[in-house]
């Protein structure tokens, strides 16, 4: 907080995040609460456009970086899906001496060492789409396997 204009700008979504649509009011509550608990001076959030693959607001935020201490994303899964684009963004944030926060996941990217932690989680989450059952269990009352036998009662064959 070296200058009067510094602070942390929020960044919230108009598109579903990992398939779930969060009301923007809820996103703002999560971001603001994250900032309060960590004593981060909070500046109002920018809202990304709804069009798929649009990161225009994010580009605006990056241009504002020299006047900010950092960014607080509602979720790390609002980062661009393209890995090269994400990494370029991390580098730009770090080069500006700023930090990138993900409020929902309570994660901070403050140095090169933090990139691996962000990237491992994002890469696995994307890969889960190709995992059995899409990596997700729906609680519709039916067991995942075809028969009605619960997996807990399977015997070792």
């Amino acid at each position: 907080m070296s200058e009067q204009t510094a602070g942390y700008r929020g960044y919230i979504a108009s598109r579903p995040v990992r398939g779930t649509s969060f009301p923007q009011r809820v996103q703002n509550l999560v971001v603001r609460n994250y900032a309060e608990r960590r004593g981060l001076p909070f500046k109002l959030s920018l809202t990304e456009y709804a069009m798929p693959r649009s990161y225009m607001m994010l580009a605006t935020l990056l241009d504002e970086l020299p006047k900010l201490d950092g960014l607080i994303f509602f979720s790390m899964f609002m980062l661009p899906e393209n890995r090269e684009r994400r990494v370029a963004m991390y580098e730009r944030v770090l080069a500006a001496g700023a930090t990138l926060h993900a409020a929902l996941e309570e994660k901070v990217l403050a140095s090169d060492r933090d990139i691996a932690s962000f990237e491992d989680t994002i890469a696995v989450a994307f890969t889960l789409r190709a995992a059995p059952f899409g990596g997700r269990i729906e609680k519709d009352g039916r067991p995942l396997q075809a028969s009605a036998v619960s997996f807990i009662n399977l015997t070792l064959k």
Binding site: R18, S75, M76, F77, R83, A102, L104, E105, E106, S117, D120, T121, I122, A123, V124, A125, F126, T127, L128, A131, P132, F133, G134, G135, R136, I137, K139, L144, S150, F151, I152, N153, L154, T155, L156, K157
Partner: protein, 267 residues
């Protein structure tokens, strides 16, 4: 066909039969480090001297803290533990082998921690009968539950074994109007109370009904719990990122996740 080792097979059969395993902590030094850290931070928080014998101090903590201050102490300890860079690795080290036998070796670990202090006769710390899968958890998760003191009977937790659990699950709708206390009364005779001396860890499936009651023993219960699951098994509402994170990502997975087929071909 199964190529499980004898040890893995024995553990798997017991886990499927009983729903849990109790084994000595794999890394006893790691467990002692966690317990000693908790005791030190507790003494500092309460402003009382830390005696050389840690376990009697923890057992008798009701002499130093009121029920009203208990939650503040609990939250303080959770923050302190999660603030230590060694803590989560130490926790995993306590149960590494048994987790790998039951779950696998490419794992997601809960980022936070459950921490319980249950004073004798404290009615505010009761955890009613439940299965975690009935709320936000995936049935693919297991819980590594570690006591910091000797626990048994009402100072411990109870579990409904797989057989009775399956039977009562089919009848659960009969309690729709009467509620959880009525369900507890119905299953009470089938419950198993888990006796776990300090130095051991419990791994159990939270698909089974479990919980605790008022601690009627003369000393306090101290326990921690953290969930683990196969990294690529299905998640429920506790997702990778906000709740879980990868802890043992393997080289083949890293290669597979980033591999790109040759491109540039035309019709």
């Amino acid at each position: 066909m199964s190529f499980l080792s004898d040890e893995d097979r024995t553990r798997s059969e017991a886990f499927l039969r009983d729903g849990y395993l109790i084994v000595p902590a794999q890394d006893r030094q790691a467990l002692d480090r966690i317990r000693d850290f908790v005791a030190q931070r507790t003494a500092a928080f309460l402003g009382c001297p830390l005696p050389p014998a840690v376990q009697p101090f923890l057992d008798a903590i009701a002499e130093h803290v009121t029920v009203e201050r208990l939650n503040a102490l609990r939250l303080h300890l959770i923050d302190a533990l999660l603030g230590e860079p060694w803590f989560r690795q130490a926790y995993y080290a306590c149960g590494r082998g048994v987790i790998e036998s039951i779950v696998g070796n490419e794992l997601a670990m809960q980022r936070g921690i459950g921490f319980s202090i249950q004073l004798p006769q404290d009615e505010s710390s009761v955890l009613p009968l439940h299965s975690d899968v009935w709320s936000e958890d995936s049935p693919f998760e297991v819980v590594l539950w570690i006591p910091l003191v000797d626990v048994a009977r009402t100072k411990s937790m109870f579990l409904l074994p797989p057989g009775p659990d399956a039977r009562w699950r089919t009848r659960m709708h009969e309690f729709a109007a009467s509620g959880v206390d009525a369900l507890f009364a119905a299953v009470e005779d089938d419950l198993e109370w888990l006796g776990i001396p300090y130095g051991n860890v419990l791994l159990f499936t939270h698909t089974l009904m479990h919980g605790n009651r008022v601690n009627r023993e003369p000393t306090a219960r101290w326990s921690m719990n953290v969930r683990f699951k196969g990294l690529f098994t299905p998640y429920s509402d506790k997702q990778l990122g906000d709740f879980f994170e990868p802890i043992t990502l393997r080289a083949a997975t890293r290669i597979g996740m980033t591999y790109q087929l040759p491109g540039g071909f035309d019709e």
